[in-house]
């Protein structure tokens, strides 16, 4: 289905930290079609400054009695646009365009799903968790942040049967250091005959490490990239990532159309 532009009412704005919030948006037409890993473009101002929409992964797809009613997005305040979203009031109306982009391809059992999230890279994994649960896929979340206060929704994931492996750079919760360390250890000790698929979203160095680990251990990986986007529709060519084509030659493709989710082995790291 082609994307739609919804005048979405803010149903709820939950501040998770001094920088991060979850916005629940009344957008049934998007909620009904969105797949985990897809994104929406949100206009943060009715005027021209900020001018461009901002891309956000669909975080949750909220349902009532089977009907998808709302989506939520996980935002981090980094500039004037995201600052407006951090301060958005319930009832405020925001133009939301979506769903956009290529989603994750969730695998059913016997493969296990190991999600790897760095910071607000948690964004696509609530929706993915629900789909994996429907598939009956055993799931684990490797989740890292700078400090304990940067780790959100851990109870939410635990209550849905997701195994948690947490890490913080300051050691205030879980292992001390990057989340890729416990991931590397888990991959090393995983029997070769037990299939596992990696799904990752987070900072570029983390994604590269996940891709390297996936290759080293012969596991498939699906990585959600983050780029500054102009339009989200393929119009501007602003959001490119470098991938290898079928003959192995590197070239730029638009992450809004060909991504944001790519197979780890496709991506060429700058």
């Amino acid at each position: 289905m082609p994307p739609v532009d919804i005048q979405a009412r803010v149903l709820q704005n939950t501040r998770l930290s001094p920088d991060c919030n979850v916005l629940v948006l009344d957008a049934p037409a998007i909620a009904a079609e969105a797949l985990p890993g897809q994104f929406v473009m949100i206009r943060t101002s009715p005027g021209t400054d900020p001018l461009l929409r901002r891309p956000f992964s669909v975080f949750e797809i909220r349902r009532e009695g089977g009907a998808a009613l709302a989506i939520s997005v996980l935002c981090k305040r980094v500039g004037p646009g995201t600052a407006r979203l951090y301060d958005a009031a319930s009832g405020e109306v925001l133009p939301v365009l979506g769903p956009l982009g290529k989603p994750f391809q969730p695998l059913g059992p016997p493969s296990e799903a190991w999600m790897v999230a760095g910071g607000v890279g948690l964004a696509p994994f609530a929706a993915l968790t629900e789909v994996l649960r429907d598939l009956g896929t055993p799931s684990r979340l490797f989740y890292g942040g700078r400090t304990a206060a940067d780790l959100f929704y851990t109870d939410w994931f635990a209550s849905r049967g997701v195994g948690l492996d947490l890490a913080t750079e300051d050691g205030s919760r879980g292992a001390r250091g990057f989340v890729t360390a416990p991931l590397a250890e888990a991959l090393r000790t995983r029997p070769a005959e037990s299939p596992v698929t990696l799904y990752a979203c987070g900072p570029e160095p983390m994604l590269k490490t996940v891709a390297d680990l996936a290759r080293l251990h012969g596991r498939p990986s699906q990585l959600s990239t983050e780029r500054v986007m102009g339009c989200g529709m393929g119009g501007c060519y602003g959001c490119v990532v470098r991938v290898r084509d079928t003959e192995g030659r590197p070239h730029f493709v638009r992450s809004c159309l060909d991504g944001p989710v790519f197979r780890g082995e496709e991506l060429v790291w700058e």
């Binding site: 021209t48 365009l97 500054v228 501007c236 060519y237 602003g238 490119v240 990532v241």
Partner: protein, 304 residues
């Protein structure tokens, strides 16, 4: 109400066009925009061969605008004809191809190749891209070069020819006249303004290319002034471009002297903008008792 406008020998059903580089190859939007409802679809600039473009970051937002330095990434004219034109024809789009070159011969060759392609209605000549080292703006910043490239492409194609002019010169109007004298059917202006954003913490330009082209509502008043000046100096139609974000802005260009307009950055923000623009123009015409949109063109010019 008659919304049609004439660009040289080409009659468009209305004055709205997409701006090159802001609408991909058109097919990206085919499911959300009725391509046949547009005056014309101006597709992304094409060289003879594929081009990789610049590494990211390629865009950065600025107050009421944005900078881009895409570097004319593109699939080349042959792949465009093979892979994109069939769908554009099927959708009933009036296609204007933006033609690029690193030499006069390349411009002429791309124009020649496109001349025989069914569904290509006109050519826009890109002599104004600020983001590449060879070609583009180097032809658009020198009157003799502009004349030479327009004249060479004129000889290579019978299609209506619309050189797209850069605002990064002292007098755009003199370039419009050079284009006219060498056989252009119309001129389009403006391309983006050469600009820069610096990351103060890192003390280096944000864009990988260093500089980029500024577009969006921030440039609109300058573009309106340039369109006004060009329309005074040349007899061929002027296609107005620069920061149009709503029907009022489009009308401003029309009354300044533009026969048609292109919309770029605003369709990034709202891909569904086209029927809103057209509806707003129709409302205005009703309100002012204007039967033909062509009657609005240049109506703000002094002495009219």
């Amino acid at each position: 109400m008659d919304l049609s406008v004439r660009i040289g020998p080409l009659v468009l059903k209305n004055p709205l066009m997409t701006a090159s580089g802001c609408f991909g190859y058109g097919v990206e939007y085919a499911d959300v925009v009725d391509l046949a409802s547009l005056g014309a679809v101006v597709v992304k600039g094409l060289f003879l061969n594929e081009r990789e473009g610049h590494p990211p970051p390629r865009i950065i937002e600025t107050p009421s605008g944005m900078l881009n330095a895409i570097g004319l990434q593109g699939i080349g004219v042959h792949r465009f004809i093979r892979e994109k034109m069939p769908e554009l024809r099927r959708r009933g789009a009036v296609v204007i191809v933006n033609v690029c070159g690193t030499s006069i011969d390349e411009y002429a060759e791309v124009a020649r190749i496109l001349s025989d392609v069914e569904g290509v209605a006109a050519l826009e000549l890109n002599i104004s891209c600020p983001n590449i080292k060879e070609g583009g703006i180097q032809f658009g910043c020198d009157l003799a070069s502009t004349g030479a490239v327009v004249s060479a492409v004129r000889k290579a194609t019978p299609l209506p020819l619309i050189p797209k002019l850069t605002p990064n010169v002292t007098s755009v109007a003199s370039f419009a006249r050079a284009a006219e004298e060498n056989g252009a059917d119309a001129v389009s202006l403006v391309n983006t303004f050469l600009a820069m954003v610096i990351d103060v913490e890192a003390r280096r330009p944000v864009l990988s290319n260093g500089m980029g082209g500024l577009s969006g509502p921030a440039i609109r008043p300058i573009a309106v002034r340039m369109v006004y000046e060009c329309a005074q100096l040349v007899r061929i139609p002027v296609v107005g471009i620069g920061g149009i974000a709503n029907a009022r802005d489009a009308l401003e260009f029309l009354v300044a002297g533009a026969t048609a307009v292109q919309v770029g950055t605003a369709s990034f923000v709202d891909p569904f903008i086209w029927p809103k623009l057209l509806g707003g123009i129709e409302d205005y015409m009703r309100r002012h008792g204007i039967a033909r949109v062509a009657d609005l063109v240049g109506s703000a010019q002094r002495g009219r």
